[in-house]
């Protein structure tokens, strides 16, 4: 069983202390934790992620770069949000912040009942391990490992029992229709198959949110479409929240439920896709 935070009222954006996340407008109740990959779970928390005046500034020599500049955004559970923008608009930086791979210079990121900005590196690792899954443009599979071993990697990190691992790996690979190629190495697969493996690896720990950074960027359009269809299927089956960075607007409009457009580190617009 896990504790889930539910908003009682509209969220008031303001800085939170280390422990008083959603201090006045949440109630806590218990929800079913057994995440069955074959059924759509009822979302227990309508909010997946809330960004509260997030900024990420770098200093390059004497130049200050505002990669993300005062972005506030609310992503609901079950959303398929596409982050659009040109190169250098800050969309990938924002995704890294939401994925707990980077820390904001200022602002708060509320996810899974925590303010990511205030978590220790160990807590952030735990968040990445148990709450989210990540898919990258260049797949990022470990070349010396087989498909099954690549997919098993998050389970090793989460210290899941050996006995349970095989079943979960098989289940994840079956979902992406690669259960016949478990012993193959990434170099023996096509780009689309590698990306499907990466999706299986992202799903195997049963995350609540799936982050995809240009998942079709290295694929031809037909394969890209098939990957997007797979993501949609996963979202609908598992009730997962998907946040995808892309610069392909037509693809985003076709598959995403919401679009957020970034430019020069700022959130230019945000709304429903269709």
């Amino acid at each position: 069983m896990y504790l889930t935070l539910v908003l009682r009222n509209a969220i008031t954006p303001k800085r939170q202390g280390p422990t008083d996340i959603f201090p006045s407008n949440v109630v806590i109740f218990e929800a079913a934790s057994n995440f069955d990959m074959t059924q759509t779970p009822v979302p227990s928390n309508p909010l997946a992620i809330q960004l509260d005046h997030i900024s990420r500034h770098y200093t390059l020599g004497t130049t200050a770069i505002r990669a993300v500049d005062d972005v506030s955004l609310t992503i609901r559970t079950g959303d398929f949000l596409a982050l659009l923008g040109s190169s250098g608009s800050g969309k990938s930086t924002l995704l890294n912040l939401m994925a707990g791979l980077d820390r904001p210079t200022s602002g708060a990121i509320h996810a899974d009942g925590k303010n990511l900005a205030e978590l220790s590196s160990l807590e952030l690792a735990r968040y990445r391990r148990s709450t989210i899954g990540m898919v990258f443009q260049s797949f990022n599979l470990l070349p010396r490992m087989t498909l099954a071993e690549n997919v098993e990697l998050p389970l090793r990190l989460a210290e899941v029992d050996h006995a349970e691992r095989d079943a979960r790996v098989a289940e994840a690979l079956q979902r992406v229709k690669l259960d016949k190629r478990t012993g193959h190495r990434p170099s023996e697969l096509s780009g689309g198959e590698q990306q499907r493996t990466a999706i299986a690896r992202a799903l195997v720990n049963r995350p609540k949110i799936l982050f995809a950074d240009e998942p079709t960027g290295n694929l031809d359009s037909a394969t890209g479409e098939s990957i997007m269809n797979l993501l949609i299927e996963i979202k609908e089956t598992l009730g997962m929240t998907i946040i995808m960075v892309t610069h392909e607007r037509p693809l985003a409009e076709k598959y995403a439920t919401r679009l957020a457009i970034m430019g020069d580190g700022k959130l230019l617009s945000e709304g429903a896709a269709r």
Partner: protein
């Protein structure tokens, strides 16, 4: 991550760059081998020296004499330090009952004229107990050791044998006779005795190179050795007999000195103290033994330092290999972190890789070191055999050296892995994922 998974991943990573990692591990192995070979040589030489000295009976023995003032001072001086007692059979039995005492036997040495080939030769005869067979002093002797505690047998010290015949080996199997002064107790029970010349034939059964009955405590070198039982039965006049006659009193004979053999050199100190408390003079070479141990400890330390130099160089190889691995696996580290690996997981992964290299290198090094020791022993023994000398074990790899060397290799490797592991753990996942 669980240690089992961590180790599995580490071994897989090491296998990936098998040539580079094998060369690094070989470097560790060479370092450990150098350390093990040096220390095994030190340990072997120490064991060789200790065993020779221990077997000689000098370091596990206490020499007991009556506490008498022989230097002409007032008698009270001798008794000031404790009660003066006679060193007789009762005393021998009492001392033999002390804890950790293996045996107590009298030193029987007497002057004799040896007749061989019709010529007289003057020498000192010494009685040897059967236990001296394993002392090491008789190793490599020509002929055989005494067949029993008593018997008409003699072993000649080689220098004395050369006086009898230049071809010492030819003496074995021949017969000689000794003339000695037998002490015969007077019947009036006054403590006095008469001295009667006697003669006894003995079969020469061996010739020994060493000096098993070296001069000790004022008693000259025994150059003609006979079984202790035989020596006692001859009742030959010894240095203490005149003292007994002057002392008068009981006719019971006393011993000039006793040798007490302890179970180990560690027991010598306690036995020496106990014997002194009983009112006898006691002396041991324990202090000399302690000095020997100090010498070998310093010797081992120096050998260890020289041996460790190669291992120190090998640790630089580990640092280099792991730093290279970080550069090559930067993106992989980023992926691991993105999938939820904590900094500590990445750090431990590199630590385990360093530890595995250390462990493998340690095992290999111990094996190499042992082989080097065997080769040194073999070469030494070939040389000794050519010189017609008994063979020796100059290198020894005891279990503590095996465990110590492997543990040391792992420890040194972990220390070498500290910097690379910490560097890998600190990698920014976003930058690592961007790395091409």
């Amino acid at each position: 991550m669980k240690l089992r998974d961590m180790t599995e991943l580490a071994v897989r990573n090491l296998r990936e760059s098998i040539l580079r990692n094998s060369l690094t591990t070989l470097g560790v192995a060479v370092g450990v081998a150098s350390l093990v070979a040096m220390l095994s040589l030190g340990v072997g030489l120490q064991q060789l020296a200790s065993s020779r000295l221990t077997k000689s009976g000098l370091f596990d023995s206490v020499f007991v004499t009556p506490k008498l003032n022989m230097r002409g001072g007032p008698p009270s001086m001798a008794s000031q330090q404790g009660e003066t007692r006679l060193l007789d059979e009762d005393a021998r039995v009492e001392i033999s009952k002390l804890p950790n005492v293996i045996e107590v036997f009298p030193q029987v040495r007497f002057f004799s004229e040896v007749r061989f080939g019709g010529k007289p030769f003057a020498t000192m005869v010494a009685g040897m107990p059967q236990s001296s067979k394993v002392s090491g002093a008789f190793d490599g002797m020509k002929g055989n050791f005494f067949s029993a505690e008593s018997g008409d047998e003699a072993i000649l010290q080689v220098e004395f044998a050369k006086e009898l015949s230049p071809d010492t080996a030819s003496l074995v199997g021949k017969t000689l006779s000794i003339r000695y002064a037998e002490r015969q107790q007077l019947e009036d029970n006054s403590g006095g005795f008469s001295i009667v010349p006697k003669e006894k034939e003995l079969h020469i059964i061996g010739v020994v190179e060493t000096e098993p009955a070296a001069g000790f405590g004022g008693y000259g070198n025994g150059r003609l050795l006979i079984p202790l039982g035989t020596a006692l039965s001859l009742r030959a006049t010894q240095v203490n007999d005149l003292r007994d006659a002057v002392r008068g009193g009981p006719s019971k004979p006393t011993y000039a000195s006793l040798t007490v053999r302890a179970k180990s050199p560690n027991n010598v100190d306690a036995i020496e103290t106990a014997v002194k408390k009983m009112g006898f003079g006691a002396f041991s070479l324990l202090d000399a033994s302690k000095s020997l141990r100090i010498f070998f400890s310093v010797f081992d330390l120096l050998l260890g330092i020289f041996g460790s130099l190669a291992l120190a160089v090998a640790t630089l190889g580990i640092v280099n290999t792991l730093v290279m691995a970080i550069l090559e696996r930067r993106r992989e580290i980023g992926v691991l972190k993105a999938l939820g690996a904590a900094d500590s997981d990445v750090k431990r992964l590199f630590f385990v890789e360093a530890g595995v290299m250390g462990l493998m290198g340690g095992f290999g090094g111990v094996l190499f070191g042992w082989l080097i020791g065997r080769a040194l022993t073999l070469a030494t023994n070939i040389y000794l055999k050519r010189q017609e000398l008994p063979t020796v074990e100059i290198a020894s790899v005891p279990w503590w050296l095996v465990l110590g060397a492997i543990s040391f290799a792992v420890l040194v490797s972990l220390v070498a892995g500290l910097y690379p592991a910490s560097r890998a753990a600190k990698l920014n996942p976003v930058e690592a994922l961007r790395y091409e």
